[in-house]
């Protein structure tokens, strides 16, 4: 059996970078063809510099690694603390980093679609992105997704 998975990664926080990458590496391990469309803040996951500095939100996020009261979340350093805590939790569980997941996905042949509109809106140049991205608009991604067995929006 082999299938095709089409994912949309639309969020650029540390916690939301993981689900599409976990699903993509799993599907590719099952022998599936996989494509991820990185759009809006999800494009940060493909951004050479920003992907190293994805953060956990400490304000307005009742579901972080620790329960930070909203008012305490605005204290300088709270976002960095929440981010460090999440990274430590993942490390302690022997989970790969976002950058390591990207390398795994790439080795498995996962296609990275970089949203051309997001690049235009946010002033992102092709040279800002990691190697091997396919710059695409919505039509090109939908053309890939139309033949997919599973399509998910993250």
């Amino acid at each position: 059996m082999s299938g095709r998975l089409a994912l949309v990664a639309s969020k650029g926080t540390l916690d939301q970078a993981y689900p599409p990458l976990i699903l993509a590496t799993t599907a590719a391990s099952l022998g599936w063809e996989v494509g991820i469309y990185f759009t809006f803040f999800g494009l940060d996951i493909l951004h050479k510099d920003r992907l190293q500095h994805l953060k956990m939100a400490s304000v307005g996020n009742p579901a972080g690694p620790t329960q930070i009261p909203t008012l305490a979340g605005v204290i300088p350093g709270a976002t960095a603390a929440a981010t460090a805590m999440m990274k430590r939790q993942m490390q302690d569980a022997h989970m790969p980093s976002v950058a390591e997941f990207i390398d795994m996905a790439r080795e498995l042949g996962v296609t990275f679609f970089a949203c051309a509109t997001t690049m235009g809106v946010m002033g992102v140049d092709e040279s800002d992105l990691i190697d091997g991205c396919q710059i695409a608009g919505a039509a090109a991604f939908l053309d890939f997704a139309a033949a997919a067995d599973v399509q998910l929006y993250v």
Binding site: M1, T25, T26, S29, L30, G31, A93, M95
Partner: protein, 77 residues
Amino acid sequence: MIDEKLDTSGLLCPLPVYKASTVLSRMEPGQVLELVCTDPGSLADIPALARQRGDILRNVEEQPGRQVFLIEKGPVQ
């Protein structure tokens, strides 16, 4: 007869599936992989991996805190 062994103790999804798939991919059809997992999700995930890849799950042994799978590599598609 076991041709390859892989111990994924302490690793969580997707790593047992990812690592098992990597090893199975370089094995020959008919060869058998002994896979040890401690992730409770593996009990559902490894049969799914075998089904999706076209491999044959020969045996599942549930031991305290871990599972031991015997997977025979299926014919290459």
